[in-house]
Symmetry: C2
Subunit: 209 residues, 2 copies
């Protein structure tokens, strides 16, 4: 009688909800729901409250569109950073990844996605217009240059988005650059794919001793 059925409507609804997360199947969802059922009520409420609070109260930096708790993110508010270098990334995780390297002292612009006709995402769904406005509001001269680093993924959608943004912002007189691509540090030639290896030879760099 229970084939493909749940002993409780409440359990079924919770499994449906948890199973709607990406990469969580119905068996895992059932396991997680039963795990939550075994926890003290206050732990479960803390769990649900913190997720609801994230969705309801998170803000987006009015300059760079990074998520933050105030009107302006910690990076844009930091006077010691280089506000005339803007690194354009797809999402929040990319900012966190670049920040974790400790190698970048400029600011960011978070697109909130990537141009992908197959997924129905066009330029107007992203914050490209905001980037153009942000650049137009800056004084850009030879003495006070602005650099935009296009740090998008190297696949077709990333390249398309980079090219689209390049066409929008290059008339503004900004310097546009992109991430260095080549073999990873420590990579062995034997295991490199031939496209990356070929590009590494063509784009070879001066040797630094």
């Amino acid at each position: 009688m229970y084939k493909e059925q749940y002993p409780s409507k409440l359990l079924e609804e919770a499994v449906d909800a948890i199973g709607s997360l990406p990469g969580v199947g119905r068996k895992s969802a059932l396991r997680l729901a039963l795990h939550l059922l075994r926890q003290p009520a206050e732990n479960v409420h803390h769990f649900t409250d913190s997720i609801a609070a994230l969705r309801d109260n998170v803000k987006y930096c009015k300059v760079c569109r990074m998520i933050c708790d105030d009107d302006s993110c910690a990076i844009c508010a930091d006077r010691s950073r280089d506000h005339r270098t803007i690194c354009v990334v797809e999402n929040v995780r990319d900012v966190m990844s670049i920040e974790a390297t400790g190698q970048y002292r400029g600011t960011y612009h978070v697109l909130g996605g990537i141009i992908s006709p197959i997924n129905g995402v066009g330029p107007s769904d992203l914050t490209i217009g905001d980037l153009v406005q942000r650049l137009k509001s800056m004084e850009i001269t030879a003495e006070a240059p602005v650099e935009v680093i296009l740090a998008l993924s190297g696949d077709v959608e990333g390249e398309t988005t980079s090219f689209y943004i390049y066409r929008q912002i290059s008339p503004l007189g900004v310097k546009v650059s992109s991430l260095a691509r080549g073999l990873g540090f420590g990579d062995n030639l034997e295991y490199a794919d031939s496209l990356t290896l070929g590009r590494s030879i063509v784009n070879r760099q001066p040797f630094k001793a």
Copy 2:
């Protein structure tokens, strides 16, 4: 500056909460938190509400301790089932697994765990006392027998729990049985472990053509 740090306290708290689930690491938790952030607010509220509702409103059948939405579960309320055969299982999932086979028409008793000194779980943490009371309230005679099937796992903790329950209930005059163990249907002898294969020979069954 963000090394091991989050751009938003709200995001960090949500990642902490999601990462506390078993089998969900911090990278997956961040991915899931950012996924939820991209969903419409009503979807996220439905997600959190259904989990909180499960924890707050789910009930346990007063007869068999199965989770349910009312005082009595659908199986115990079903007059067509055999209420004099009680299958003792560790948890809710075991009931769902046995029900999914469609081969069992008796009732259940959900222990809510298994005796495990290493995890600090003793007999009094389980519903063994409820099972004894349930059996004592039934009329048990040669004309009206009661069978208890111990359907626990075959590891040391399962065997220990089975033996403990057997000692508690055998004085009540019930028939106690356990699950058949042997080669799985369709199993190849070549790949069977020798313990299972040895037991299968010792506990051989009459051939059914």
